[in-house]
Every structure is written in C-alpha cells, then in structure tokens.
Symmetry: C2
Subunit: 414 residues, 2 copies
C-alpha cells in the first residue's frame, strides 16, 4: 500500500545545510570546484545517503553520479532528475546543490511513500557543470549526450592540475558506485534550479517554468582608427574609433533588446588603446554577448551587429574587425514536458510564469536527446555565482514539491 | 649701413641637425628631457653659438635660457622669441627645437645684416616645457610669468631624481650665462612651433597664425549600476552602466564638436568593471577631454557633460559621479600681435589661416603678461610627441622667415 509522496521540507533544508558545509567559505558561500577534494566529499556524502536508503549508485566515465530507484516496467529507460554539485570558486550554496538535493528528496519521498513509478527514476549529479576549474563547463552532460571528449584528456586546470588525473582520482574515490558506460537512453529529464536572475523575485512568483535555454554567442569587435592629439585634431580630420564604437553600441543597445523581449545583448568589456586621457584612441575593442532561444534569430542579431559595426566604423573612416569567439546553440524544451511541469505547479495552486533561461544548464544538452524541462525558483536579488546567493527556505521547498509532482507524472505516463 | 635681414636656410637646417644629435634615439627621434645631461648639452651648445656671435647669455632661477641682442632704445623691455629645447622621452626633432633655433637664426640674421631694432630682441629657451620627466610641464614660462614655485622644490622625477638638485646642476653647468631674476617686463613674445595636428598639411597651407590657445579640462566620469548575468537579466531589470555611458558619450559626441568648430571633446579612456564578457558591468568609467579657447564656453561644455551623464545614468537607474581632474585655462592672443604675424606672412606672399592651438605652449602663459602670438608650420601627418615627427625643410625655413619679419616689425614699432 502506498501513501501520497510528500516532500519533507526540514530534511531537504538540513541536507542543503550539510552540503553547504563541504567547501564552505568564510563569507557563507562554497568553493567546491569540479573534481576537487571538496567535490569528491560531496559526491561521497550523496552516495552514502543513497546507499543507506537502499538505492543503487552508479557513475560513468566523466564522473556523472546516478542514484537509481527502480520502476515497475523494466523495459523503460529511466526518468532523470537532478543538477550538479560542483560550484564556482566563490559560489553560492544553491546553484546546482538545490536541484541535486531536491531530486534526492524526491527519490526519498517516493521511497517514504512506497510509491511506484512505471519508469525507473534516477537522480543525477552532473560532473563539472561550472567549468571554473576545468573549462569548458557542462562537461558531464555534454559527454552523456555524445560529445567528443577525446580532446579533454589534455585539459589543464586553472590550478595547473591535469583533468585526466583529477577525474580518475574522483572516480576511484567512490568505489561504491559501479561504473557504467557514459550515455544511455533516458525517458526524460527535469532540472530544478535557482533562476540566477531577478524576475521571479521582482514579480513575486514562486515558480518559473522554463520553455527554452537561450543560445549564446560572443563577438569580439575591434575598431581601428588613427590616434591623434585631443586638442590639435579638428573634427574633420579625426578617424576616431571611439566615436565609431560608441555609435555602433548605441544603435545596438537601442534596438536589439527593446524590439525583441527574447533577445539579450550585453557589452561587458570595452577598452581603448593607448588609453590616454588627451589622445584620440588608436583602437577601441569591445565584446558583445548576444543570446536568443532561436538559432535563426541569433543569426539575424549577429548579422546586425556586424553590419552596424562596419557601417559606423566606415562613417568615421575607421575599420572594424569582428570575430566570433564563442557559439553555444540554444534549445527549446519539449512542449509535453513543459506542460507536465505547468500541470504540477497548477496542482499545487502555485502561480508561475513561462520563461527562457538565459544561462546554460545541463538541461540544454539533455534536451537534445530526450524530452526535458526546467523548474526555476527565485533567488534573492537575482544573485548567483556569488557567496551571497540566497534562496528563501520556503521557495526551495516549493521547488522540490513541483519537482516531485512533475517526476510522479512524467515517470508514470498514462 | 644695414642690409635687409635674411634667413640662412642652410644654417638653420644644419643647426636643427646638430641639435637633433643631442639625445638622438635609434629611431630618429630625440630623448632630451628637462634638466637631463642631454638637456644641459643642448643649452651649452646654444649658449656657445650665442657667445661666438657676441650676444649676451643669461639664465634665471628655473633655468630659462636667454640670448640678448641689444636694441636702440635702452628704455624698452625686450621683445622675446623662442620656444624650448627639452623633449619627450621618445620625442621628435622639431617640437620646441624648431622654434628655439629659428629664433636664434632670426637673431643671427639681424646680426648678419647689422639691422637695428628699437627694442632689444631676446631668444628664449623655456625650461621644462614637456613635463615628462618632472611634472608639471611649462615650468619655465609659468615661473617667468609669476607662478608660485615654492611647491616645486620637492618634486621627484619619473626617474627618481629630485627636481631641485637637477635644476641646480643644470644652472651651474652653464657658468657663462649670468643669473638674473626670474621674470621681468617684456614687450611681447612670438613663438614658432610645429602644428602638432594635421590641418595645415591637409589644407596645404605653409603657415598657421595662432589666435588663441585652447583651455583644457579633464573630466573623469564613473557610472555605477548593478552587475548581472548577461543571459538571465531581462531588459526591464537591468541597471546597466554601459548603456548609460554609451548613451551619454553618444549624445556628447554628436553635439559638442559638430555644433562648435572651436570645441574639442575626446573620450580617450574607457573601462568596465568587472569586465566580464558575459556580465552586465557593475560600473563604467571614462574620461572626457574638453577644450575651448573661451573659458565661459568651457564652463558651458562641462555643464553639458555633467547634465548629460547624470540624465543618462538616471534613465538607466544608475548613478554618475563626475570629477574634474585637470583645468588649464586658455588664452586669446593679442589681436595686434596676431595682425603683425599676418602682415609678416602677407609680406612674404604666403598663404595662411588663423587657427587655435589645441595644445598648451609656453606662449599660453606669456599671453597673460604681454602681447603674444604663435606661428605654426605643418608637420607630417600631424604627428608629434613621436620619434617619426617630421617637418619639410622648406616649411621650417618658411616659418623662420615669418618669425624674422614679425620680430623686425614688432621690435621696431612705428
């Protein structure tokens, strides 16, 4: 006889506290970078909690950690819920940990209630999501979904450590977790995560139902002009790359985002050379981070950036060189899985809104191989990748409730 | 019996070569910084040339060097012509040297022709015009025109040397030059200098008649916003200091100079913090160099910069802090002296234009105590403060001709 599975809020919050102590920083954050001693301790703690509850524990060749609770239909691939346990060097307590520990709470809630699911349900802690020690990030989900990992063997970390050695040490530090091949069929994936932006808090909504992850491109623009004396050079004789850069950025800032609420355009870095107060610069370089959920629209925005920079450079008799330095395609989540999350939120009488994730997540890669979705909960002031990152306890528990409902529905399809 | 005084072009060009060898750099420029061994060698060579011709040589307490040729009316203060002999560390052969050596050529031309002038004519080589070793620059002319020099005693140079010691050593290295008090009545001052900008060359004019020196102010603007994730922060929730800075600079660049041909506005330095490609900056700082010959118009421009930056910051829910870090008032030259220079140019059938100097010069300070003016000659590509600085030999000689005519007229007023 099974009961209705229920989230144990105190247990979840206690677990969040316990994991926050692993790699805790004096300022209240965590430093639990991928494949570090702290990361291994967090993986061990989760594995031990899982084994105590009688779940099976696996890991794969990139150190993704899986905790499996069987379903009633052994022919079905597992339904995955989870996130990551690694952090930024001065990271917060919730980024990744909330989704991973809420997923484990879901598994315990199912077990507490002796609830049956048709599919196996597996909690996953993806390896090296942050990429701050070993770039690139989202390594675990990339490898799981078929990325070519051959070149990763020689990656050297920010601290000089060799990825291959640290990965091997991480895997062997957890002999209780049986090794299985990297990648396998799955039935679906849902990830709970903090928003890492301010909108849910500002709109006082407990839940965001994520419909897509934005694609991201980084463009590096360099405009070359002619340096000159700030006092002696008439306007008519200036080839001022600062004027060109400012005009170009101004046009982009006043058109791209205001005209398309799904688009993001950010200039985070700018510098002039030689950088003399009293000299027209020789060159001005700036970066443009553009994001959009639809790849074709990202193409349109990139073309616009290129055209505007070239035109404004030409207007000042300067030249513009534009390089694309990063390109991460976005993904739309499965409408069915999004519907399931919405149904879960509605069944709990929770207000929510559909939203697009502006940050990458492991779910971006899972969405390419299975129906996937994400659940966002508010974080204070939108702060993340920051030791001051904070989630109201009530909001964390609400997120876990929605994840539980979603998992129950998704893992036992009608 | 006197002849018509004539510039000896070969002699002048030979002198330019000789002085260019003092502190010559491998790249063809000069490094003859103020009060250095090289500066002392240049002063010594000029003094020796002067003594050979029977002129009197003086220096004052800041090491300004004077070469005097008597006039017919001993009651009149001297008429001064000259410039400076010190250079930037990677300076050119003409900045300062052209004006000083042309002035000496004028004195020799007068002597060659046994020409009489009513006023004494004195060549002056102002000390430490560049200020690159010991800041501030234009020390010699500031001291000569009454600046309070008490605080200069403790100035330490870019190379760690003490100004007081180097100045003392410079003065004692030239015992032939009698010491006289710093500052004295003068009848007028005219300085020949390279334009240090491109307009004469572009307009193919051999002579610029300088009517004023622009005043200069440096403003340092810092706009504070709120850092945020480039992907997760909706436009509505951004407090992006880059948007504010770009909008403000764009407004200033498209109004100040286009609407007033005497105004200059240059943004030479800009930086965003933290300077992350994928983060909205926390703050953006930039400099604004503004110049105008009229102080009241400089006030208007500064007020406009402050108002525009504050308004654009507010529009983005950011705050702007604006600091004035430098303020050098400009000066209009004496209309009579400007007329004399124009008459000199016309008498030689030379095309010229009136222009405003965007760079400081010693003449800026002399204009406060006596009728003053400047004569500009073209320099290649407007380049100065650069080892590649170059003046066509013919243009250098034409400049000396105009200086001679001007000195003859000004030193023997009707």
């Amino acid at each position: 006889m099974s009961l209705t599975p229920r989230i144990d809020g105190d247990r979840l919050l206690g677990r969040l506290d316990a994991f926050a102590r692993i790699g805790a920083t004096p300022a209240g954050g965590v430093n639990r970078q991928a494949f570090s001693v702290e990361d291994r301790r967090a993986r061990r703690l989760l594995a031990e909690l899982a084994l105590e509850r009688g779940f099976t524990v696996f890991q794969d060749g990139i150190a993704n950690l899986f905790i499996r609770r069987e379903g009633t239909d052994a022919t079905l691939p597992p339904f995955l819920i989870g996130s990551h346990l690694d952090s930024q060097p001065t990271g917060g307590r919730f980024d990744g940990a909330l989704g991973t520990l809420s997923a484990f709470e879901v598994l315990e809630a199912l077990e507490d209630a002796r609830a049956e699911t048709r599919m196996p349900v597996e909690v996953v802690a993806w390896a090296n999501e942050e990429g701050s020690r070993f770039a690139p990030g989202v390594m675990g989900s990339m490898a799981f979904t078929g990325a070519d990992t051959a070149a990763w063997k020689s990656i050297v970390g920010a601290d000089g450590a060799l990825l291959a050695a640290e990965l091997e040490a991480t895997i062997t530090a957890l002999p209780e977790a049986a090794l299985r091949p990297t990648g396998m069929p799955i039935s679906g994936y849902v990830e709970l995560h903090i928003e890492q932006g301010p909108s849910l808090e500002k709109e006082q909504l407990p839940i965001g139902v994520v419909t897509a992850v934005q694609g991201t491109r980084w463009l590096e623009v360099s405009i070359q002009g002619t340096s000159g004396h700030a006092g002696t050079t008439d306007l008519a004789y200036r080839r001022d790359p600062m004027v060109a850069a400012i005009a170009a950025i101004h046009r982009l800032q006043t058109t791209i985002m205001p005209l398309d609420s799904s688009a993001r355009l950010t200039v985070g870095r700018i510098a002039a050379r030689p950088g003399s107060i009293n000299a027209i610069p020789q060159s001005v370089a700036f970066t443009v981070d553009i994001r959009h959920p639809r790849a074709e629209q990202l193409n349109v925005i990139e073309a616009e950036v290129r055209q505007v920079c070239a035109a404004e450079a030409e207007a000042q008799h300067c030249t513009a060189v534009i390089k694309r330095s990063f390109d991460m395609p976005g993904a739309a989540f499965s409408p069915d899985m999004v519907n399931t999350v919405e149904e879960a939120a509605r069944s709990l009488q929770l207000q929510y809104k559909q939203m697009i994730s502006g940050a990458f997540h492991d779910a971006l890669f899972l969405a390419r191989v299975a129906p996937a979705a994400m659940i966002f909960v508010p974080c204070r002031d939108g702060l993340s990748h920051n030791e001051a990152e904070y989630v109201e306890p009530g909001d964390a528990v609400i997120g876990a409730h929605v994840l539980l409902r979603t998992a129950i529905m998704a893992a036992s399809p009608r």
